[in-house]
């Protein structure tokens, strides 16, 4: 007993190195690592590898050609535009929702969180359909919209709306648990010391949540650019006009243009990888920030 206790002291100080009691036996460790590796290789890495292999099947120049197609360029532009609107919209919402849910107490909180989660569980087919029911010519506002000559679905606004719906929970979902965990003590201290609400948010809350916030934004962005089902329903599939990258991928694939289809997929997959690279970098920075923060307290 006492031996173990004595041994555990230097461990706390030095961090990772040797940790008999809190570390699993080597057999367990290797078994778990092997399981993780095999599982990720078959389920995550293999599909991605296939995308890259197919894209490179006919050589690099053919791969590059896929990006000079006017329709592909239009799809890339549209995708960027949609993400540039949807992500900030959900970012602002995520901050507001997390602030009100994490920093205050009110009844029905679980219900509210569930409603925020709901778009995760709505079938993409349905997420598109609901906007058709609201804005379609036969829908709720159809008559009014067509009388005013406004097109919502089968045009950019509809695609943006469907994307916002699908990526709705990402930022909020990332921030709520984080801010709940951090509590309100630091903000209260700042406010007591005379800081304004805004100053408190910027100088106290934001630094605490910035990495979580960025991570949420990155995920939201990746999903916004990759959404297929919902956008497919409201897009109208007009070539060079209302096709986003995922829709263009489907078109190319259906035209037996496998290389170009997978080349555009590589673009989205690379986006995912870049996103993840940034995230790893942030976590690395985060570790420093954590250490510094720990020192400050």
């Amino acid at each position: 007993m006492s031996e173990i206790a004595v041994e555990s002291f230097p461990r706390i100080r030095t961090g990772a190195k040797v940790r008999p009691v809190t570390q699993d036996a080597p057999v367990t460790r290797y078994l778990l690592i092997a399981t993780t590796l095999v599982f990720s290789l078959t389920f995550l890495f293999a599909p991605l590898a296939l995308v890259f292999v197919e894209a490179a099947a006919k050589g690099f120049s053919v791969f590059l050609e896929a990006f000079s197609e006017p329709d592909a360029i239009a799809a890339i532009k549209l995708t960027l535009l949609v993400a540039a609107i949807a992500v900030p919209a959900n970012l602002v919402f995520g901050l507001a929702a997390a602030w009100s849910i994490a920093k205050f107490s009110f009844p029905g909180k679980s219900l509210l969180i569930t409603l925020i989660d709901l778009p995760f569980s709505v079938s993409p087919v349905v997420s598109g359909l609901v906007y058709v029911l609201v804005f379609g010519a036969q829908g709720l506002f159809g008559k009014w919209l067509s009388a005013h000559g406004t097109q919502v679905i089968f045009a950019v606004p509809g695609i943006v709306l469907a994307t916002i719906f699908v990526t709705f929970p990402f930022v909020a979902r990332e921030l709520i648990p984080l801010m709940q965990e951090q509590g309100t003590v630091e903000e209260e201290a700042a406010l007591t010391l005379g800081a304004s609400g805004f100053t408190t948010f910027v100088t106290v809350t934001l630094p605490n949540i910035k990495w979580g916030l960025l991570y949420g934004v990155l995920l939201c962005n990746a999903r916004a650019m990759g959404e297929f089902g919902a956008v497919s329903v409201v897009s109208g599939h007009i070539r060079g006009l209302t096709n986003t990258i995922p829709l263009q991928v489907e078109i190319l694939y259906n035209e037996y243009n496998t290389v170009a289809a997978f080349a555009l997929s590589v673009l989205l997959a690379s986006l995912a990888l870049v996103t993840l690279g940034i995230k790893s970098f942030l976590e690395w920075r985060h570790a420093d920030a954590l250490a510094a923060g720990g020192g400050r307290h």
Binding site: F43, F93, I116, S123, L129, V130
Partner: protein, 287 residues
């Protein structure tokens, strides 16, 4: 960063009116935005199916084909979420607790299903598991068929749901305090006992959330599934496909009916999970 004392004070503060400003604005905006973007369109969906009445909905759910597809959808999603739960926990543990070459890369791959368009995922999975694919060919030699069967749906849903489990569990594992493990070991518990009695309980709410999100996502999934499922009625037909079939006949009431049924089930599942979460947060403090 988070200490129990902080959470404790936090919990006490909740009862009293807060000095923190901005509740009205942020709460109001949250409700407004949620209402406009999510609730209003979904309400339109429910309203469109309301012509059927409750008995009409019930009847749609009982149509043999609809019933079979709902059963397939929910059963396979449940199974897939279970598989994600098991392997997701292992992956989250390995990625957080161990150092090994390639860990960062592996960690990065976990988010891939979020970013890859579902159609691309479906196409690649179908290509991998088809009888002439990288995995399908050797499996076919063993007499195992994955693509174009129910197993195909399972594979797609496991892929889609994995990040939800890993990403909800990972931060909690990172926050686990090693003091507890040390205390447990000091008191003579075996490693297994420590894992089961000390480490696992605080992970349960996160695991449940991850499971619920993976399950909910699986229920609705369409793009990646149709490429690999085979879409045979009564065998491998998923509920979202039936919505498309109903629309194909201009049967909006039927389509919105199935959508409403799915929405209701998912909503209840998520709500139950979030209530469990809230309860455990109160009970365990900060988890």
């Amino acid at each position: 960063m988070t200490s129990p004392t902080l959470a404790g004070r936090h919990a006490r503060r909740f009862k009293a009116p807060s000095v923190i400003p901005g509740f009205g604005v942020t709460f109001g905006y949250t409700l407004l935005y949620l209402g406009l973007v999510v609730l209003f369109p979904l309400a339109t969906l429910v309203w469109r199916s309301s012509g059927l009445g409750l008995s009409g909905l019930y009847q749609i759910a009982l149509e043999p084909r609809v019933a079979a597809s709902l059963q397939t959808t929910f059963a396979v999603s449940f199974l897939a979420a279970g598989i994600d739960l098991f392997f997701g926990l292992i992956a989250a543990w390995t990625l957080t607790r161990y150092q090994f070459p390639g860990r960062r890369l592996l960690d990065a791959f976990v988010d891939l299903p979020f970013a890859l368009p579902t159609a691309v995922a479906g196409i690649s999975l179908a290509a991998l598991y088809a009888p002439n694919g990288w995995f399908g060919a050797p499996l076919a030699d063993l007499g195992v068929k994955i693509a174009f069967t129910r197993w195909g749906i399972l594979v797609a849903l496991v892929f889609i749901g994995l990040p939800f489990v890993v990403r909800t569990v990972q931060p909690i594992i990172a926050e686990l305090e090693t003091e507890l493990e040390e205390a447990s070991a000091t008191l003579g518990a075996s490693r297994l006992q420590t894992v089961v009695r000390v480490l696992l309980p605080p992970l349960v709410p996160a695991l449940l959330t991850g499971f619920a999100l993976a399950f909910a996502r699986g229920v609705g999934e369409y793009g990646s599934v149709i490429f690999i499922s085979g879409n045979i009625a009564y065998v491998s037909e998923i509920a979202p496909l039936l919505i498309i079939e109903k629309l194909e006949q201009y049967d909006y009431a039927g389509a919105t009916g199935i959508a409403t049924i799915m929405l209701a089930i998912s909503f209840v599942a998520l709500l139950v999970i979030n209530l469990i979460q809230a309860w455990s947060r109160k009970r365990f403090g900060h988890v």
